[in-house]
Amino acid sequence: MFHTEYKKLRVLKEKVFLFTIGALTLLAILPLFHIIISIFLKGVPVIAERGLSFITETFSNGGIGPAIIGTLILTFITTIIGVPLAFLAGTYAYEFPESFVGRATKVLLQIMLEFPTILVGTFIAGVVVFPMGTYSALAGALALAIILMPYVAIYTEEAMAEIPKIYKEGGYALGCTRTQVIFKVITKMAKKGILTGVLIGMAKVAGETAPLLYTAGGLYESYPTSLFEPIGALPLLIYNLVQSPSPEDHKMAWGAALVMLIIFLGIFVPIRYSLKKDIKI
């Protein structure tokens, strides 16, 4: 009798528990759906009304073209500045995991990953923008590169660390130098992981606002032509528009947010799905 009572209680507990974590999980992912749905509901009418001109025209003609191009250019320059450095730093951390410098590098990269992005922006503002006397695409890209680097470096290091040691030894056995082994053999084998790191880093910096606040300046009436002049960016534009009271500006902001969301999901989801096998459970 007592035994069955006890068993019932245990089963009940089990059910309550299952229900609770299911409900909490639902609650945890609810905001994402709310965000996506609201952005679609508010953004679609704006884009439908203005059509293609919304993504090609300049700001006073009711479009966000320069901001989109600005974000693309910024992401592109950032990648060019940041990826080579990050790749080399990552390989170093992979090759010398036991040395002091190697360990310090890894810790440093992990710390930089969590670094408040606004501080990178004000740092670049102080050492690049103020001395140069102008906001510029270059300054924006430098700030973003500092944010991109740890992502790429850590992904590189981790991707390489997963390659079985035997390939490395094989390389040496064939008489290759360390340079050849790392950059030809290991890099090729870890290609996918490194590329993922680069793409995820790019998706990350394309959405960053804070580091651009005092570095990029903004350019929405014409398309950017020079690296040394101010440039616009989608997140920066949205940030400015949200702070305005006019419904017209809010409409633009929702439309721009939708464009950004689509670009982000368009890049991010396929990458994540292509890595399905690598997801640990």
Binding site: I29, L32, L108, E114, P116, I118, H250, F268, I281
Partner: protein, 310 residues
């Protein structure tokens, strides 16, 4: 000799400059923040960090600044965020790892990754234009009208832009981050443990309870790291925190965080002599708190990992 050269330098020659740049960057940032904030620290001393005052004047002699409110705001909103995120991210991690039907597993993991990668400005626009009015009209008003005898709820929810809104938005933003760390820790538990527990006839609830106890240190470090992340968030917070100097625990009061203060005032700071150094000093504080929090979090996580794998 030749052989040593051949083996040694090529690689180091290429990578060392990159490492040097990374280290120099970090060091120069630290030095830059120290030097730039020095005039304010020299002038106001410790008052700069423990007083809540913000008097800007074009005559430098009248300027007085104290960063107490933003420092408090940064820590307070991050604490609210963690309190909010703890139950949700633990449940999320357990559900995905142990209970979700096979079909739901991958989507749930991908959803969490999307949440982690979603541009912060997207959270910001949603937070400012949708979440805040929602919270104000349905949560804060209710709490204020019925429970305002509790000091936490005694501030009238005027605009909805306040510590609580910022904390909840931050909480939503750090959930995927904390979840990922817990999930990873959970996956690292040797299967022998789980099998052993079921073999003893434990229900899933009981098994989970034991396993959670086992990965407690990892959960803790996950939340420490999430706390560090919440501290530094700028754009989304500055859109929902209300931006005023309020040194209070009242949840519905508008406030400032260090990063939202910088985002708001850095633009006009240079016309005042001591405002820019003050903001850089705020940045320095954020830098150091973040550094300490992250090092502690990373250290514990690493120790736990090596403990498990041995």
């Amino acid at each position: 000799m030749n052989k040593i050269l051949k083996n040694f330098d090529g690689f180091k020659l290429i990578t060392t400059p990159a490492i040097t740049v990374v280290f120099l960057l970090f060091a120069s940032m630290l030095v830059f923040y120290f030097i730039s904030s020095y005039p304010a620290i020299e002038r106001y001393g410790i008052d700069l960090f423990i007083r809540n005052v913000w008097i800007a004047a074009e005559e430098a002699s009248k300027e007085v600044y104290g960063l107490a409110a933003p420092i408090w705001g940064s820590i307070y909103t991050s604490i609210i965020a963690i309190i909010f995120a703890v139950p949700l991210s633990i449940a999320y991690a357990i559900y995905v790892n142990d209970y979700a039907p096979q079909k739901l597993k991958y989507p749930l993991i991908i959803i969490s990754d999307i949440m982690a990668g979603l541009p912060t400005i997207i959270y910001g626009i949603w937070g400012a234009l949708i979440l805040v009015p929602l919270l104000r009209d349905h949560v804060m008003k209710f709490l204020y009208e019925n429970f305002s005898f509790i000091p936490l709820f005694s501030y009238p929810p005027i605009t909805g832009y306040c510590y609580l809104s910022a904390g909840i938005l931050l909480g939503i933003m750090v959930i995927p981050f904390a979840t990922a760390i817990i999930r990873e820790a959970y996956a690292m538990i040797p299967t022998v443990y789980k099998e052993g527990l079921y073999a003893l006839g434990a229900t899933r609830y009981e098994a989970t309870k034991v396993l959670i106890g086992y990965i407690k240190p990892a959960i803790l470090s996950g939340f420490i790291l999430a706390f560090g992340r919440a501290l530094g968030e700028t754009v989304a917070v500055s859109l929902v925190i209300g931006n005023s100097f309020n040194l209070t625990y009242e949840l519905f009061a508008p406030g400032y965080t260090i990063s939202s203060l910088i985002a708001n005032q850095f633009g006009n700071a240079p016309i005042y002599q001591y405002m820019t150094p003050t903001l850089y000093a705020g940045g320095l504080v954020l830098f150091l708190i973040g550094l300490v929090v992250n090092i502690i979090g990373l250290y514990y996580l690493k120790r736990w990992r090596s403990h498990v794998s041995h």
